[in-house]
Structures are given as C-alpha cells and as structure tokens.
Symmetry: C2
C-alpha cells in the first residue's frame, strides 16, 4: 500500500490507486472512527498527496463512504450461498464470518450498527440495502411462500439482533465467533417459533428439526 | 402552543416557553426528519421569534437534541415498574407503550433506531443510555445473579430486536401494538432459551413457565 512505482517502473493506474486508498481506509476506519483519522495520515499511509485523495474521493468523508460500501460488498459476497447449498447449510458459517468481520473492524461496526442515524442519509443508503439483503437471503432460505407477517416480523427483528449481538461481542472477547454464530442461528428459529405461537400456529416440522440440530451443535445441520 | 399571553395577561416564563418549544418539536420532529422541518415553521408553530429559539436552544439542531432527550425521558418514565410490581408483570404493557410511541413518532423512531450513526456523538449520548437502561431493567427483573454471559448476550440482542421490530411495525399497520408486544416479550425468553441451549443448559423452570403463559396470551402472566 505505498505510492511507489511497481516493478517495471509503470505508474499505478487510476483504478489501482483508488483500490490502494480503499485498502488503507478499510484498515484505518476499521480501527478508529472517522474523526480520529486525519487526512494526512491517510495520504501518508497510501503514499499519495492530499489533492490526489480529493481528486479520487472528494474528501476524507468521501473515502470513508467508499470504504463502508466496500465493506458491505465484501460481507455480501461472503453471504451469497454457493449453488447447490441446501437452505440454511451456510447459516452458521456465514454468521461466523459476520462476527469475525465485526471484530476485525470494530470502529466500522460501531458506526454501521449503532442506532441513531436517520440523520445520515448517505450512510443509510449503504447500510439499509445490506439489511434488506440479509432479510431476503433468509426469506429465500425459509421459502418466500412460508414467510407470512409473523415470520417476517421475526426475521426483521433477527436482523437487528445480529447487529446488536455483534456490538456486544466487541465487549466480550471470551465469547467465540462460532458460539455466537450458533446462538444467532438458533435464535432465528426461536424467534420464528415465538412469532408463530403468538398467532397460535405450530412451528413447521422441518424448521423445528433444523433448530434441534443447531441446538445440538451439529456443524452441518440437515 | 402559541406565544400569546395566557389569560390574566402575564407573559410565559422562560421555562414554560422552553417547554412549549419542546412540545412543538416533539410533534414536528416526530413526524418529519430534522432536515424537513424549517426553523421558521418551528417559530411560527410556537409563536416565538427566531432569536428567541436561538436564545433557548442555540439552533434547530439544539432544539432537536432537547426533543430527543425528552422523548427518551418519557419512555424511561413509562418503563419504570411501579413498587410492588412482580418481575415481568409490566413487560407486555411496557412494550405496548413503546411500540405505540414509535408509531406516534415515526420520524423520531427512524432517527433513533436506524443503524448508522457512530457518526453522531450527540445522538449516541442520548440513545445509548436508553439502551443501557432497558438492558438493566430486564436484567433486574431476571435477577442480576442469574444473568451470566449467555443470558446477557440474549438480552442485549433483544434490545436491538425491539428497535428493529418497531421500525418494521411502521411499515405494517395491520400488526397491532399489543400483538407485537406479546411477541417481543415471548421472544426475550425464546432468545434466553437459545443462548442457554448453546451452552447446554436448560431453561430455569420459572422463566419457562412465564414464557408458556405469555405464549397462551394471558394478559398478566404469573
């Protein structure tokens, strides 16, 4: 991540330089809040001049938004099930990845997951589609025709729960990402069960079986 | 809420005028985001001059922060159990009040509960203690000595879940506040159950009984 010329003496392309800047931003903004990272520090770490940063991203905040967008993109790529995956097969591994990511980027997680920012429309525009995407992923795995109002309420609540759980994990290093992921996956079905019970409906047998398997800690529930 | 002299011709006291402004702010900021409410509109609704608003709250944002603080204060007062209340007796009524409040102040709820604002330290400073207070209230009802790491994880997640559930209710007018509250109360125990199962621990019998009663929809579970 420096501005030096690569072997062969060619200068970095515009794209490569922007990428390098985003990489520097991921590291710095992942560890410290926006205000605690100076423009000079970014430029020095990336080996570029301040006007070049302005040229690429407009401002420090512009870079920050690009970095947040990239972080969300990375998470979304990880969360995309591979073709042939059975529904929920990837739930625990994906949640483990999510909690690991949160721990690796504490400042970013605090920013993106703390409540309080209907204020910031630009951040909303990045974070909100990620929440929506998470919801869709789970709704698809459950089967869209089985997601009625009650189940939807449970899944939306679960999305919020995972963010808060992630923040809580930052203060509890003794809880492993794997345990937190097992809990989060199991909690999805517990919440669906609660929502259905309020409506007086039983839990479908296949969901129940999956939850039982999760509770028993099988690495790959049926 | 006007600036006219009350009967008797005395002018409003400083405190009464600030109160009137907060009342106007609760209404306007409850319905629309900060940016969509103009300073002129506030002054007209409160019947005061712009310099007077500046004198009391510094700026529109200053009034907004006072309004958010007041909203949180009101919620906290509602959430305080009366002396003699059995633990959890007030859980469903309190959650009903919370969801009703969210529906009455949609813009405020969107602001306070949406993720994305580690950015805004002043809003954090108001919203974060409310989350902490909610956690404490539940931990106290559960019994502090029974709140180990697993149960704490579940309660913290539940705090986030309620905020997301509240936002979801804004889009689903067909779900009543009472049903949502019953679901939210039941989900607390479901989540605790999930957290304990991950640890291989059974659910304590009294919590289990309470959850069963909730599921059956008793207005005042034991």
């Amino acid at each position: 991540m420096t501005g030096q010329r690569p072997p062969g003496g060619r200068r970095l392309t515009r794209e490569a330089r922007a990428e390098a800047l985003i990489g520097v931003g991921l590291k710095l903004f992942g560890e410290r809040p926006l205000d605690a990272v100076s423009t000079r520090e970014i430029c020095e770490a990336a080996g570029i001049s301040r006007p070049l940063l302005q040229h690429y991203f407009g401002s420090k905040r512009g870079l920050f938004l690009a970095v947040l967008g990239r972080a969300v993109e990375r998470l979304e790529q990880t969360a995309r099930p591979a073709p042939g995956d059975a529904p929920f097969q990837t739930l625990v591994p994906l949640l483990t990845t999510y909690f690991t990511f949160v721990r690796q980027h504490p400042a970013g997680a605090l920013l993106a997951s703390r409540p309080g920012s209907g204020m910031d429309a630009e951040i909303q525009a990045i974070v909100q589609p990620f929440r929506q995407g998470t919801y869709e992923l789970v709704a698809q795995a459950l089967g869209h025709d089985r997601v009625d109002d009650s189940v939807a309420l449970a899944v939306w609540g679960w999305v919020g729960l995972n963010e808060t759980t992630g923040l809580h994990l930052l203060e509890r290093p003794e809880i492993s990402e794997a345990k937190a992921a097992q809990y989060a996956a199991l909690s999805l079905f517990s919440l669906i069960g609660a929502a259905l019970r309020v409506r007086g409906q039983p839990m479908p047998a296949d969901w129940q079986r999956f939850a039982e398997a999760l509770a028993e800690g099988l690495p790959r529930p049926p």
